[in-house]
């Protein structure tokens, strides 16, 4: 009798234990998401696609999709769980400005200052954002959701997270994953569009070497940049303020330690936390919805429009420029703010057609302008839709 009750006791507890394991709680959605996470990690390690982002996000997806039994204060959406505390920085938009501080401290705006007209290409590429906004509205998304989704076209992960934390919290995971995925796929998405809209003659255009930029200009840039952009769009202040502050730390040369921390340990720590928690926020139960699929499709579309917009804009302004002053349209794609990947794409494609035509430094101009442009665009969307 006693041995029987002990057997029952053990069996009951084993069954109870099993009910708590991820095997018992797993759904088909979890399996799909785990596969997505593994693909991210594979792309990062084997193909070297944005490994700094895809490894933490990919691993985060694995963490977020270990199917636990709800109510154990484990999940990222369960109040009081450790992951929920870490996710606070994402849900309240804390991490993106810190990332921007680091980006500011590591970005050299010389390429832009030596040829200021390249700034305008950074503005033209933002058409991707507003094109995607129109399509998202047509697909039935609400205006606030459409605004948050559209920012994927700016190719700026932190900005996308920042905006969605205000406008569409429920879609944040899908938007962040989509933005980072397409940023990693910049070398795959952009080249065919660049080739499609340019002639061989245009691809061979050689641009004047950039002039030397004085230290004074570099110091003035973050100050003037902040005042000019934030007075116009104050809602972009958290992102632009931090971006320009980080840049002043770098360019002033008297705060080297602060600049080193901002662009080194600090951005690394925030990237780890951001990547991991964004990845973990893709719990299959909340993530796998038809809306998420729509967001992925719109993300790809917005990237295509942004790249097209940048390339066509360069072709347009070339109509007004004299021979010898023309801009190579292959740097038009760099108007999206995937720094420095899209500039690297310009360089690679440029070299395919002329082994001695180095476009990297020229492309960095619109590339960093794109960072400013997408932050301004986010500010506008926020002020209209919040």
């Amino acid at each position: 009798m006693e041995s029987g009750s002990f057997k029952d006791f053990v069996t009951d507890h084993l069954f109870e234990f099993f009910s708590y394991t991820a095997y018992a709680n797993m759904t088909f959605g979890h399996v799909i998401m785990i596969l997505v996470g593994l693909i991210f990690i594979y792309l990062a390690i084997a193909k070297d696609y944005e490994p700094m982002l895809l490894v933490p996000i990919g691993f985060g997806i694995l963490i977020g999709n270990v199917a636990f039994s709800p109510g154990m204060k484990l999940g990222i959406y369960e109040e009081g769980s450790v992951l929920n505390y870490l996710y606070f920085g994402v849900s309240k938009g804390v991490y993106p400005p810190l990332i921007f501080l680091g980006i500011g401290a590591m970005t050299d705006f010389s390429a832009l200052l030596s040829n200021p007209r390249l700034i305008l290409i950074g503005a033209a590429a933002q058409i991707g954002i507003f094109g995607a906004y129109a399509i998202a509205l047509a697909l039935g998304f609400d205006a606030n959701e459409a605004g948050a989704i559209a920012i994927i076209g700016g190719a700026d992960g932190p900005t996308a997270i920042f905006l969605s934390s205000y406008l569409a919290k429920d879609l944040m995971g899908a938007i962040a994953i989509s933005a980072y995925s397409y940023m990693a796929l910049v070398p795959v998405i952009q080249p065919p569009i660049m080739r499609l809209f340019t002639t061989k003659k245009e691809r061979l255009i050689r641009m004047k070497p950039p002039r030397a930029v004085s230290k004074l200009e570099k110091i003035l840039f973050p100050l003037v940049g902040l005042l000019m952009t934030c007075f116009l769009v104050p809602s972009g202040l958290p992102l632009l303020g931090m971006l320009f502050f980080g840049n002043l730390l770098k360019e002033s040369t008297v705060t080297k330690r602060l600049a080193d921390t901002a662009k080194g340990p600090m951005i690394d720590i925030v990237t780890i936390l951001l990547g991991l928690t964004v990845g973990a926020s893709t719990q299959a139960t909340t993530f796998l919805t038809p809306k998420s699929i729509g967001i992925f499709a719109l993300g790809a579309f917005s990237f295509v429009i942004a790249t097209t917009g940048g390339v066509l804009f360069v072709k347009f302004i070339n109509l007004f420029l004299k021979e010898g002053n023309k801009i190579n349209p292959l740097i038009g794609n760099a108007g999206v703010s995937a720094v420095p990947d899209s500039a690297r794409v310009s360089q690679t494609i440029g070299l395919e057609y002329d082994k001695t035509n180095h476009l990297l430094m020229h492309a960095m101009g619109p590339n960093v302008a794109g960072v400013i442009g997408s932050a301004v665009a986010a500010g506008i969307i926020l002020s209209f839709l919040s």
Partner: protein, 298 residues
């Protein structure tokens, strides 16, 4: 020279005064000043009840700011000569008002009922004052209108704004604007269902912001380069030669590579080659033996 300096100093003072006055006019300190007397119901016949289930005159206070404010320690009064008539008890969780939130006190003249029951009552044409914790700084005041009627409130039409009216529908602990206001996104979505308006306006703003930067840095570059040229001319350097001698990108890249390789080879230890660098010993009291040794006791 002296006069110029004097004028400059005067100009600076005027500028500072102007700047100060602009800031003073536009600034709103966060904290106690964010509290507003928001709504008062004198004749409570069939409305909101207190924690004892009794009806009485209630006063709603609105925290118009974006930070938490503790009303504990502040004073309510209906007599300007006695600003410290009723002190709200301090160190209570219940007196903390979250941002953009509301707090209700009862003007029933029975402070024994709890900390949110004032020790005075209110009547028509009477004033109500809210003073800061020092009992001197007036935060807000209002004179109650005559003939408000039963179960009608006297309050601000929009929370925190100076548009006091008789409100047909009292709204204790909630916004005085009862009508459903659509959100910014809903309004925008309705007015611009295709997104074309957003595209035109937003692209216009993005272009304007970046075009501003373009113009500033285009001309700033030109001005700074002109200054540089002037200085170079002054120093008797032939600018034309300098421009012609400017190195191409390839030469720059070669120099950079050479420097990188040179620096990369400056190892202390490499395979079996050991480089011994001279260690400089500069004097410092921290490394001095005189200060480092303990004095021999006498």
């Amino acid at each position: 020279m002296k006069r110029v300096l004097h004028l400059k100093a005067n100009g600076l003072i005027i500028l500072l005064v102007l700047f100060g006055s602009v800031i003073f006019q536009n600034s709103h300190a966060q904290g106690a000043v964010d509290l507003k007397l928001n709504e008062i119901l004198l004749y409570n016949d069939s409305g909101y009840v207190d924690e004892y289930g009794q009806r009485g005159t209630w006063i709603e206070i609105f925290n118009s700011g974006y930070s938490t404010v503790d009303i504990g320690g502040m004073y309510f009064s209906n007599d300007p000569n006695n600003p410290k008539k009723y002190k709200v008890a301090k160190d209570n969780v219940s007196t903390i008002i979250p941002p953009r939130n509301y707090y209700v006190v009862w003007a029933d003249g029975n402070s024994l009922k709890g900390i949110n029951h004032l020790n005075f009552t209110l009547a028509e044409k009477e004033f109500l004052f809210l003073y800061d914790a020092n009992g001197r700084s007036l935060i807000d005041s209002i004179q109650i209108e005559e003939g408000i009627g039963k179960d009608k409130a006297f309050g601000r039409l929009t929370d925190g704004f100076d548009d006091w009216r008789v409100l047909e529908r009292p709204s204790p602990l909630s916004s005085n604007q009862i009508k459903e206001e659509p959100s910014g996104a809903e309004k925008f979505g309705k007015v611009d269902p295709t997104g074309a308006g957003m595209m035109v306006i937003a692209m216009g703003v993005v272009f304007s912001a970046l075009a501003l930067l373009f113009f500033i840095f285009k001309y700033m570059g030109k001005v700074l380069n002109k200054e540089k040229t002037k200085t170079t001319k002054k120093d008797n350097v032939d600018v034309k030669d300098m421009v012609e001698d400017e190195m191409s990108g390839e030469v720059n890249a070669a120099i950079a590579l050479a420097l990188y390789l040179y620096k990369d080879q400056m190892h202390d230890y490499e395979n079996t080659v050991l480089t011994i660098n001279k260690v400089s010993r500069t004097y410092s009291p921290w490394s001095s033996k005189i200060y480092g040794l303990r004095q021999t006791p006498r």
